[in-house]
Symmetry: C2
Subunit: 383 residues, 2 copies
Amino acid sequence: MDDKLMLMIPGPTPVPEQVLRALAKHPIGHRSGDFSQIIAEVTEGLKWLHQTQNDVLILTASGTGAMEAGIINFLSPGDRVLVGNNGKFGERWGKICEVYGLNVQQITAEWGKPLDPEAFRAALEADTAKEIKAVIITHSETSTGVLNDLETINRSVKAHGALILVDAVTSLGATNVPIDAWGLDVVASGSQKGFMLPPGMGFVSVSPKAWEAYATAKMPRFYLDLGKYRKEAAKNSHPFTPPVNMFYGLQVSLAMMKKEGLENIFARHHRHMNATRAAMQALNLPLFAAEQASSPAITAVAPVNVDSEQIRSVMKKQFDIILAGGQDHLKGKIFRVGHLGFVSDRDILTAVSALEATLQALNYEFTSGAGVAAAAQVLRPAS
Amino acid sequence: MDDKLMLMIPGPTPVPEQVLRALAKHPIGHRSGDFSQIIAEVTEGLKWLHQTQNDVLILTASGTGAMEAGIINFLSPGDRVLVGNNGKFGERWGKICEVYGLNVQQITAEWGKPLDPEAFRAALEADTAKEIKAVIITHSETSTGVLNDLETINRSVKAHGALILVDAVTSLGATNVPIDAWGLDVVASGSQKGFMLPPGMGFVSVSPKAWEAYATAKMPRFYLDLGKYRKEAAKNSHPFTPPVNMFYGLQVSLAMMKKEGLENIFARHHRHMNATRAAMQALNLPLFAAEQASSPAITAVAPVNVDSEQIRSVMKKQFDIILAGGQDHLKGKIFRVGHLGFVSDRDILTAVSALEATLQALNYEFTSGAGVAAAAQVLRPAS
């Protein structure tokens, strides 16, 4: 059915009606006093959401653009970097580093497995000459539903002294990323994820230590030059023409997030992750990521005895629920359920019940109702 | 009055209600078949608007991001380029070229004066070794309301063989930019101008000759790597997460533009330029750009005996009409009236009548009604 679409992909994520309405307001001039006030308001809200006093800068760019900015502003060609790669996005950051002539050392893990913090500790401790300038980590690997152990890896980075640059695209607003408490130098994200907005805006937070590196970093950049954004942000302004209507939406979504509260937002995402995982297990659908490394934003499932593309097809055709497929070599091997952003308990039950109906239609053998019951058990209010 | 704002700045420009409503639709997945159809539809429409069979690529970026992409994809560090600079944007493209290590030769003109095509002819003819790889021109210089003579300059570029890279940010959709007829290699623009959309999207058209240069161009780029966009566009896809809701708006605005027709759109912009200029002359307000070099998107005015910032202030406070001020050294010396995009004959009369009321309030001496009458004369339907 048209207009009954339900997105359960890791982005775009569902957008609340009041945010959509805000997007439809007439634009105002981006050099006006009124718009400066909006910049000031959303910047304050972003700092709250990022749990930081660092600058949080706003780009007209996708998450990749934000992440590229997070890399190229703080390094120079030839600099040695350690890149964690256990999925499509870790792989992408490695490619960006190579394009810009960085000396890349990759620490890899199989897709579906988390990065090993020990490997980072060993590589960083071995670097007694302090040649490694930055460590680049994808927190929640969207392609596999794996949450890497950023906190532990970061401890080794802090002990070493390198910068830590984090892709938090599907973790920010879904799970705890306490930038100041952990001392995360650069954290990049995008609007169409935990922010409950359509795509079109990228965010980068930058620590004082990263700004020190910026001062001597020598990569060519202009549109993605974060120093320009910092300079204008200090005056509640923007170096280029910002996406005015997206700012309206961000005002509303930040207000909604503040009302819910960070702890509640994180608890909701974890509850939905646990409910989704419990349902899959009850339906004998193997989870792609292990429990201790599962992303609160997305659950990847690797079905046996039933085809994942057929599941996605029936879910879409009959129930208008969009699940993500696998990427690259995982195409056809996994499906991914997004539970990120504007997602309610009801949405999880809806998806699981539709999945049961789909499995039934595909003649997959399972205990009817087991998925819904398992999810309901997790979602059950504390008495 | 809140919500009665009337934008007469060169961007953001007014957005039609049906476009705003389209922006408020729920996003769909950007990897879906439905979204591929939207990409195909708007790409076809963009080619129509650009009067080209070349690729027209869509970026989540401002006009500056699009223009940077238009420069860095086709050149290598050390390449010699000729940059036209007669305003803030020409100056900006020169800066981007320097950041990327190009060997920049600037051809300048005073702000408010057009670039001299003869200077380009001479520089290009003198380059018998064909060292100049590209010529970079701002078509409509937004900071001054000057329209550079792209057609004549381009003839010299064609005779030489260099690439021509054009900032058409405030000319595309306002005046004739026949990309294929003139053989323009790279043309960049942004959504918040003639496209009748909010800011948030950039466009770059690329000729086969520019793609040849791309094959050997050696500047680091990833997010702004147009080859990635070309590859995905061929499959009606996008290399990163595109701004889905802006695509909805673009669908509607392109349909509106097709209905009006290119000739009518250009005629409307020229009529509004002429009406605005006639009104200013009737009010003894000196025009900043000469008639033969005036932009159909924006009219800059350099008032004497009355303060331009006071004019802008009264226009805003009493009449909720936003005019642009001068930039950099022109701050306080000029005001700029945008008549670009979704602007009607009525809007021009409204702005001129409010300007008359403002001048009266500021005790500026002029013949009452002269501005409105002069504009009306230009707007008068052909009998």
